[in-house]
């Protein structure tokens, strides 16, 4: 009996193991591409890993359900790239799809000729089925026009070719349009002067943009201008011209605004100018376009960093100056309420654990928003001060130490613990 049970279990487990090694029953990428070419349909590839992805079987089941849905069934060629472990697979990995992937599962959508149309990131693939179907339906809908424009872009010389490529990109989601290298190549080649505006819109990610800006600042590709001699006005004019392009939207517009802010910052730094308004305005506009995307978040932080009126709130009794203050005074506000144990004299100090150069001065202590005590000489550089808090309001008052801090080392910042001890 036991033997029979054992054999049965072995067989069952074998079946289960076999099922998990290839849980998606879809053609591989080369086969799917061939079929798509013949049928003139878009190709939709699920990229996953059957031998390492913990929920691969679930993903495959879900994916099958999605592609069998009435909205999608039969309207595209569906394939899979089973990204398993093994060097052999690693060698073909980069060649087989137009984009690299570091997070799986993901879905890659290509036109019938293999041009990239969309990438559905992991979060989306793991998300609601309806969301996936909606995005893929849009891709199916635009595929004929996209293919037509892409073909025209390939065939047509000059600006018209670049324009067709740009119009094809217009059909895509912004996040995908900036990844479509094949059409970028056409625009870069056929419209090097960016008369269509598509080059700055889709093809130049930030490194290309800064190369262009710095080239103008230096006085041309071979230019050697440095410091205050650089051509700031020319660079500003150039970026402002790019920004006039109404087609420049979303993240790419934010990027160019950050480029403009960069020129103002460089100008102020070199000429010792204290006119920060144009720089702050550019950053503010970048934030307003989208405060939640990566450039929006960064621009907001940068705005706070450059805005002399803004201050930093130090939390959790730990400070790290490196990314907060570089080269000028900045106010810190540190809540020390939890250290207060009745009236008395308190020693406040910074216990450094990272010893990058940082100057602190002008220590003040506020109780419920009112100045209660301050350091004798606000200009003297110190990192320790005694505060007299002899009279405190009843209850649990909000006690805050404010100070001015200036850090000189970026990477080798100053960091450490906030200490507040009653004498």
């Amino acid at each position: 009996m036991k033997k029979t049970l054992f054999t049965l279990l072995v067989l069952l487990s074998g079946l289960a193991a076999a099922d998990t090694t290839n849980s998606c029953k879809l053609p591989d990428v080369p086969t799917a591409r061939e079929q798509a070419k013949q049928q003139n349909k878009p190709i939709i590839i699920l990229r996953h890993g059957s031998d390492w992805l913990h929920d691969d079987a679930d993903i495959c089941r879900k994916w099958q359900k999605i592609i069998d849905s009435p909205e999608l069934a039969g309207k595209a060629v569906y394939g899979q790239f089973d990204d398993t472990t093994g060097q052999e697979n690693g060698d073909v990995r980069k060649k087989i799809l137009p984009v690299e992937c570091f997070n799986m599962p993901e879905v890659v959508v290509m036109a019938a000729d293999g041009t990239l149309m969309a990438v559905l990131p992991t979060k989306m693939v793991r998300g609601k089925e309806s969301g996936i179907i909606k995005v893929l339906s849009k891709m199916l809908e635009i595929h004929p026009e996209f293919s037509q424009l892409a073909a025209k872009a390939n065939k047509t010389e000059g600006i018209e070719g670049a324009k067709a490529a740009g119009e094809a990109l217009d059909l895509l989601y912004q996040r995908d349009a900036v990844r479509c290298g094949a059409l970028h190549n056409i625009i870069n080649k056929k419209d090097p002067e960016d008369t269509t505006g598509y080059r700055s819109q889709y093809c130049w990610e930030h490194m290309g943009m800064y190369r262009q800006i710095n080239s103008i600042l230096k006085g041309g590709p071979e230019g050697q201008l440095k410091g205050a001699d650089r051509k700031f006005d020319d660079a500003i004019k150039y970026v402002q011209k790019v920004l006039k392009n109404k087609r420049l939207k979303g993240e790419r517009r934010q990027q160019w605004l950050c480029g403009l802010a960069y020129i103002y910052r460089e100008r102020n730094g070199s000429t010792k100018s204290d006119d920060w308004k144009p720089c702050l305005d550019a950053l503010k506009e970048a934030v307003e376009i989208n405060p939640d995307n990566e450039i929006g978040i960064g621009a907001a932080k940068y705005h706070k960093f450059l805005d002399r009126d803004a201050y930093y709130v130090i939390k959790n009794d730990f400070y790290d100056s490196g990314d907060q203050v570089v080269g000028y005074d900045k106010e810190w506000r540190i809540d020390v309420s939890h250290h207060i144990k009745g009236p008395g004299t308190y020693t406040f100090y910074l216990e450094k654990t990272k010893t990058g150069r940082m100057d602190t001065k002008d220590f003040r202590i506020y109780v419920n928003g009112k100045l209660a005590d301050k350091s004798d000489d606000p200009t003297k550089i110190v990192d320790r001060v005694d505060f007299d808090l002899n009279s405190l309001p009843p209850g649990k008052p909000k006690v805050e130490v404010r100070l001015l801090s200036r850090c000189y080392d970026g990477w080798y910042a100053s960091a450490g613990f906030i200490r507040m001890q009653k004498k």
Binding site: A17, A299, T353
Partner: protein, 818 residues
């Protein structure tokens, strides 16, 4: 209790059907990945053991304490019930024996119980003492109690007492007493001290926090978080060790970070969760505390807690692809806001996010990208670390024991996380060798606690014997070796005994040659007291081990040779050099040989000691074995040639004609391919005959250079040399003596002949003052220059002048003499 062994017992104690069901269930639902051979072995072993055990169970009583049986196993296999320390070996290993030594292989790691039940074997008197919270008193009582006992690592009581003694010694009695003043911490300390298995994890996990509360405080925080029921004691130990450092690594960088962002308890919970959700590598449950250290953080250059979370969610690749995980972020400078990576504001715009997310959004250069790759691996339960390289940061990760794989140019360099030193590959190779033997190292650790107890009780001789015994189980453990040396020094060990000891010990360092050198770092005076012949014996043994070890650019032999040579008298230098040349010329991949040659040329050539070099090199080269024909031989030959090439250029730079000649001859004998002779068209028109050159010098050497043919360049057959990009690249022919020179022929190599247009030929009698003989603005492919009659010179130079730096490459530079 030996970790792992207890687990095996537990698995096999059930009925076979139950075990089979468990195994099959694991297979069936995919919760048990069929990833590597070791796991397959585990599974088959599991089934086999279950059958075997059933038979045994019917004849043996199984009620004995499991821990005691398992603990005894290691000792039984070697010496029976008593621990008999190893006798001082008097055998001096011959070179042949050393060469034939092979590294032991150990069974693959298996899953083990990471949360063994807390069991106390402490005597009641000690337990009572723990209540008082005076750990100096506990320590004193433990020493007293142990003093009266014969060391026995099979005895649970003895071992528990010895381990507790060691815990107090490491942490510090004062530190523990201070901690115990807090009621909750006192409760934890008592629980921890009474948990023999957890103590064993803690003390055997690699680096044990030394004279600091940090390690036990981390354990306390985890214990508190789990209400006293710690689910993964091994993981807790790894975090405590990472935070607390160790006796040899007292730095505790993580304690200086923002506690809100670098929190061991957060990380503990994170890995519990990830494992629960099956998001970790299948080998993760097998990782011992020393390996987990490389999963839970990077001691020297860590990223914040949230980076683990971000990397786990946003980088998911096939296991063997984490060497490219660093490219999940863009390699960029400047940032999206135009800031240079060198400036402080580079990461500022994204500092609200985790370090990993900041890097992903903002990009970075080698440091940030290598950390990202590393954290991606670690977040999936894969050991990894970043490494520092000159001007670069890279990383390494490992899916299986001993197999570190590089990312972004790693894994060699200065490890930012380490147990036995920072220098990779020496450090990780040694670590893998020591800890790869689960059983051996566990036994050795037990003996080490006994050795400490013996010493504390004043029995130094007994302690020495016990350390020796521990080192029989784990011969390369550097901490144990250091303790033995300390006691041997205190015991005034004689020079002859040191010699015997080292000659018996060094050959154990198979594949760990540089670790053998490190092992003797604390024996400088003892080695200095040996006679030259003994020193050379020892050094030869070390070089034999080095030659058989993995070579790396990151580990240099130059300092080793320099230091060794400095201890020898002048008349032994040739013997030493001959031995060292002999070992490295015929063994290894040529990397170390190149380093040896470079050092030797710089040290001996061009001065009074030149004859030493020539004789030693010739003597060693004569013993060169004939080249083989297999692929491995071809690769070896290629590397050997690379070593020769390097050494030849070094000889040229040191202007050592004998070294140059010796090396060229040796290289040819080793099978250096000669170039096909290239006829010179202008040869018939030259006056005089081609001179035999003593030395040829190139201004710089590039990768396309062929130094082994540099002497051929001075002959009508020709060779090939290639400089780097320079404004004034040049070549110099040095003749044996000042001679009547009649002219020269300079010929460009085939291809890229548009280079080397403006050229001048000079002669010199002192090698410093150069007299121009002829110039051209458009040098032909083959340029024949006739010198004015009566020209006498020892050196002839051709120099090219470039507007901007460019290469120079010639096939011939033949000087004619009358």
């Amino acid at each position: 209790m030996v970790p792992g062994a207890r687990h095996r017992h537990k698995q096999s104690s059930g009925g076979s059907v139950f075990v089979a069901l468990l195994a099959l269930a694991a297979l069936g639902v995919g919760g048990y990945y069929l990833y590597d051979q070791s796991q397959k072995n585990d599974k088959s072993a599991l089934v086999k053991k279950s059958k075997k055990k059933k038979k045994k169970a019917s004849t043996k009583q199984e009620t004995a304490r499991t821990e005691q049986r398992i603990a005894s196993a290691a000792a039984e296999e070697t010496t029976g019930n008593e621990i008999i320390p190893a006798a001082d070996s008097g055998n001096t290993s011959s070179a042949t024996e050393i060469k034939s030594a092979a590294r032991k292989t150990f069974p693959p790691p298996s899953r083990y119980d990471r949360a063994p039940k807390a069991v106390s074997h402490l005597p009641k008197a000690i337990v009572d003492k723990l209540d008082g919270g005076d750990y100096q008193a506990v320590y004193d009582d433990l020493v007293k109690a142990l003093k009266g006992q014969k060391p026995n690592i099979k005895s649970d009581e003895y071992m528990h007492c010895a381990m507790l003694t060691e815990l107090i010694r490491c942490t510090g009695a004062e530190v523990m007493t201070e901690l115990a003043k807090d009621k909750n911490k006192a409760k934890f300390l008592e629980a921890f001290c009474k948990d023999s298995a957890w103590l064993e994890f803690y003390l055997g996990g690699g680096l044990v926090p030394y004279q600091t509360p940090v390690g036990v405080d981390v354990l306390y925080r985890i214990w508190k978080e789990e209400d006293g029921k710690v689910k993964n004691k091994a993981l807790a130990v790894a975090l405590a060790s990472l935070w607390g450092g160790g006796e040899t690594s007292p730095q505790q960088p993580l304690t200086k970070m923002n506690p809100a962002q670098f929190n061991p308890v957060w990380r503990y919970n994170f890995f519990l969760k990830q494992e629960r959700e099956k998001k970790l590598h299948p080998n993760y449950p097998k990782l011992r505390p020393w390996e987990l250290r490389f999963v839970v953080g990077i001691a020297g250059q860590d990223w914040d807690d949230k980076s683990f979370e971000w990397a786990a969610e946003n980088i998911n690749m096939p296991w063997d692809q984490y060497h490219s995980a660093c490219w999940a972020a863009v390699y960029t400078d400047p940032s999206r806001f135009g800031d240079s990576v060198q400036g402080g504001a580079y990461n500022m715009p994204y500092s609200v996010m985790s370090d990993a997310e900041t890097t992903h959004r903002n990009g970075g250069v080698c440091g940030a990208l290598s950390h990202l790759g590393c954290f991606a691996a670690m977040a999936h339960g894969i050991p990894a670390t970043t490494v520092g390289q000159p001007g670069h940061c890279a990383y390494g990760y490992r899916l299986e024991r001993g197999k570190w794989v590089g990312g972004f140019g790693g894994p060699d360099g200065g490890m930012h996380n380490q147990i036995f030193g920072h220098r990779a590959p020496t450090s990780y190779t040694l670590m893998e060798t020591v800890f790869g033997d689960d059983k051996g190292v566990a036994t050795a650790y037990r003996k080490s606690y006994a050795a400490r107890a013996l010493e504390a009780a004043g029995d130094s001789a007994g302690a020495i014997d016990m350390w020796k015994s521990a080192l029989e189980d784990s011969p390369l453990h550097p901490f144990f070796r250091k303790e033995l040396h300390r006691l041997m020094k205190e015991a005034n060990t004689s020079a002859d005994s040191w010699h015997k000891y080292l000659m018996a010990t060094i050959p154990l360092y198979v594949e760990n040659g540089f670790a053998a050198v490190d092992m003797t770092a604390d024996l400088e005076q003892e080695i200095a007291a040996l006679n030259d012949a003994q020193k050379i014996d020892i050094y030869s043994a070390m070089h034999t081990m080095i030659a058989g070890s993995k070579s790396s650019w990151a580990v240099k032999c130059t300092d080793v040779i320099k230091n060794q040579s400095a201890t020898l008298s002048e008349n032994m230098q040739e013997t030493y050099l001959t031995r060292v040349f002999g070992i490295h010329m015929h063994t290894g991949d040529g990397t170390v040989f190149g380093q040896v040659l470079e050092w030797a040329v710089a040290e001996f050539c061009g001065g009074e000691k030149e004859a030493i070099f020539s004789k030693a090199f010739a003597s060693a080269a004569e013993k060169a074995p004939a080249s083989g024909s297999g692929e491995a031989d071809a690769e070896k030959s290629k590397r050997m040639m690379a070593a020769y090439n390097k050494a030849i250029v070094a000889a040229e730079q040191s202007r050592s004609a004998p070294a140059f000649q010796s090396l060229i001859q040796a290289a040819k004998k080793s099978g250096a391919a000669s170039t096909t002779p290239i006829p010179l068209n202008t040869l018939p028109g030259m006056q005089g005959s081609p001179a035999q050159a003593a030395l040829f010098r190139i201004s710089t050497s590039a990768q396309w250079d062929t130094p082994t043919t540099h002497l051929d360049i001075t002959t009508p057959d020709g060779g090939k040399c290639h400089t780097n990009k320079e404004e004034k690249p040049h070549f110099i022919v040095e003749l044996p003596n000042s001679s009547a020179v009649t002219g020269c022929i300079v010929r460009k190599t085939d291809g890229n002949e548009g280079r080397m247009k403006k050229a001048t030929v000079y002669t010199s009698s002192d090698g410093a003052t150069w007299m121009p003989k002829e110039s051209t603005d458009d040098m032909p492919k083959e340029w024949a220059v006739n010198f004015p009659a009566g020209t006498s010179a020892k050196w002839v130079k051709v120099e090219f002048e470039n507007k901007s730096p460019d290469f120079a490459h010639i096939s011939h530079f033949v000087v004619f003499t009358r």
